[in-house]
């Protein structure tokens, strides 16, 4: 290997270490005894590893409930987002109807408006509909994300019209064309979109904080934040909570990252 390649490899390894170090320390602290992480200098490894923090987290703190809330909301958000976004994106790309392009331009224009600006009006709207403090209220913003529609539409544009026409001649209905021809072709972008929505809704803090008042409905980030206000000094418990929050999505991402990257690259590179 040349010197150049060695130095690039070393640089990449260093960058990876810098990136992963906080995660590793998080995991390490979560296994320390109470108060151990507050010493100066903070230790890198637990003197005697313990699962006490996790026991307390799932026991008296009841993180299991919040974990389930998060899983439920993120799964539903992902499912619903795909249900609405894929047909919408496909229709904007491939079906002919009046006002199609004008509507799409309007949607894309709305992309530049920061989500936070819409939160208050959305909250008032949901309040009027009686959806505040419910799972349904927490799910609404994920139903049909413009970014998702845009992503699906762009990908669908690369499907040749002739292929859909061939299916029409073969006797497939529009629904069958979507299910049997378009969906399989869209697989990489669907996985990307599903991961994106799942990660975003899992990590979302602001909207569940606004819409959910009942503690029992809290998602993990909201519950951990509420807890951190009570236990500012308990680094070990906090880190155990952080591990519980991070681990599921980390595993999910690592398992599907191949699709995620290929999905994000499509459209820019013909594949």
């Amino acid at each position: 290997m040349s010197l150049r390649r060695w130095s690039v490899t070393l640089l990449a390894a260093f960058a990876a270490l810098v990136t992963i170090a906080p995660l590793l320390w998080m995991a390490s602290v979560s296994l320390m005894a109470r108060g151990e992480a507050a010493h100066f200098p903070p230790p890198l490894w637990p003197a005697s590893p313990t699962l006490e923090n996790y026991r307390e987290l799932f026991g008296s703190f009841g993180v299991g409930r919040f974990l389930l809330n998060s899983i439920l909301i993120s799964t539903l958000a992902t499912g619903l987002a795909l249900l609405f976004t894929i047909p919408a994106g496909y229709a904007f790309a491939k079906l002919r109807f009046k006002g199609r392009d004008a509507t799409f331009r309007l949607l894309v224009a709305a992309l530049v408006v920061p989500g936070q600006i819409g939160m208050l009006p959305l909250f008032l709207e949901l309040k009027a509909m009686g959806l505040v403090n419910s799972y349904a209220g927490a799910l609404v913003p994920w139903l049909a994300g413009i970014f998702g529609i845009f992503l699906v539409r762009q990908y669908c544009l690369s499907i040749p019209d002739e292929m859909l026409e061939a299916a029409r001649i073969d006797g497939a209905s529009e629904g069958q064309i979507l299910r049997r021809i378009v969906l399989p072709i869209l697989t990489p972008i669907i996985v990307t979109l599903a991961l994106y929505v799942f990660l975003s809704s899992w990590n979302d803090f602001m909207w569940p904080l606004i819409i959910l008042a009942d503690q029992d409905l809290y998602t993990l980030p909201v519950a951990l934040a509420a807890n951190s206000r009570q236990n500012v000094q308990d680094y070990e418990i906090m880190m155990a909570g952080a591990v519980v929050t991070t681990l599921p999505v980390l595993i999910l991402f690592l398992a599907l990252q191949r699709y995620y990257l290929s999905g994000l690259l499509t459209g820019s590179v013909k594949g």
Binding site: P160, A166, G171, R180, I185, T187
Partner: protein, 360 residues
């Protein structure tokens, strides 16, 4: 199987009229090729027959059924697209079986139909492959196979050979002809390539600007074009058109003042009437003969055995293309004696319409 009849078809996209009162009859089992330059409306016409576009006015019958308002799948047609349009996530077998599975045809019947089509096209070994693992020619065969499996009354082909390289195109042309002989299905085939039209068709329909210019067998269209457009569209190199005026004694004066003998016209023209004289490059005779005219060779395109001579120097107007068996005896700048036999001449009036001559 069935014939196809298109009556007074009109199609507009917004203010643009792409089909202007087109009527076509295709007999049962006939191989008809629609040919014309791009933008002439030929593909639109095919898509209308397929049911992928709606007619603005007119009717379409397949056999004795009026299919004008029917969905594509109810028309009894199968279409092969220029891009093949195979389903990339399905194997060759699944691609070919797709239509039958949608129609809920039984497993055994589907399997029989797919294997029969695969045998006809010699693609049995490819059935488990995905389209991405096939060459252009193989994809084309699968697309045809998908059409055959449907056992349609009419095959529609939209420029199916345009994406293939020249070699493969010649071979597939032969295979199309062979396939038609074997299946005998009524076929409507669209192309911009006049060689495909000439070699494949029982009948050719020449289109221009949304209208039909002429319909006939390849031979009829080649020998008796009804206008200059058809005359020049079919044949390579294309027919030479020489502007001239009618002179006394059954002769015409060319633009350069020289005169040649004309064939006898069915309706004689007065001397001084302008007309266009058409002659195909292979009909021009080189060599001394009574009435031969001297021409300078401006340029020679050598193709090996044959060569195309471009007669007439620079600045002498449009050169005349002339086919010549290349024996190496002629060079650029040489002067040759050229004769135009009256029986090979095509005469057109100032509107480009063919003038009837005796004996044609």
């Amino acid at each position: 199987m069935a014939g196809l009849s298109i009556e007074r078809a009109r199609k507009s996209f917004g203010a643009t009229e792409v089909l202007k009162d087109v009527s076509i009859e295709v007999a049962d089992g006939e191989f008809t090729v629609i040919v014309g330059p791009s933008g002439c409306g030929k593909s639109t016409l095919l898509r209308i027959v397929a049911g992928l576009e709606e007619l603005t006015a007119g009717r379409i019958h397949i056999g004795d059924r009026d299919v004008t308002g029917l969905a594509p799948s109810e028309r009894g047609i199968a279409m092969v697209f220029q891009s093949y349009a195979l389903y990339p996530h399905l194997t060759v077998y699944e691609n070919m079986a797709f239509g039958l599975r949608i129609a809920k045809v039984g497993k055994t019947a589907t399997d029989t139909a797919v294997r029969r089509a695969a045998a006809i096209l010699n693609i049995e070994a490819l059935l488990d492959r995905k389209p991405a693992a096939l060459s252009g020619g193989q994809r084309q065969r699968v697309a045809i196979g998908r059409a055959i499996v449907r056992q349609p009354e009419i095959f529609l082909f939209d420029e199916p050979l345009s994406n293939l390289d020249a070699d493969l195109r010649v071979r597939m042309r032969y295979e199309f002809a062979e396939l038609h002989r074997q299946l005998g299905t009524t076929t409507l085939y669209v192309t911009h390539d006049q060689v495909e039209a000439m070699t494949l068709a029982d009948r050719i329909i020449v289109m221009r600007d949304g209208r039909i210019e002429q319909v006939g067998t390849p031979r009829e269209l080649y020998d008796r074009p009804t206008n200059i457009f058809v005359a020049q569209f079919l044949g390579t190199p294309r027919m030479n058109i020489l502007p001239a005026t009618v002179a006394e004694g059954g002769r015409a004066t060319l633009a350069d003042g020289r005169s040649i003998a004309l064939p006898a016209l069915a309706a004689p023209l007065a001397a001084g009437t302008p007309l266009s004289i058409g002659i195909r490059p292979e009909d021009i005779a080189i060599g001394d003969a009574p009435g031969a005219l001297p021409f300078t060779i401006g340029f020679i395109e050598r193709l090996g055995g044959l060569a195309t001579l471009h007669l007439g120097g620079r600045g002498e107007g449009e050169p005349i293309a002339c086919q010549w068996r290349d024996d190496g005896s002629l060079g650029e700048g040489d002067t040759v004696a050229v004769s135009f036999a009256p029986r090979h001449l095509h005469l057109f009036d100032t509107d480009g319409k063919a003038l009837e001559t005796m004996g044609k």
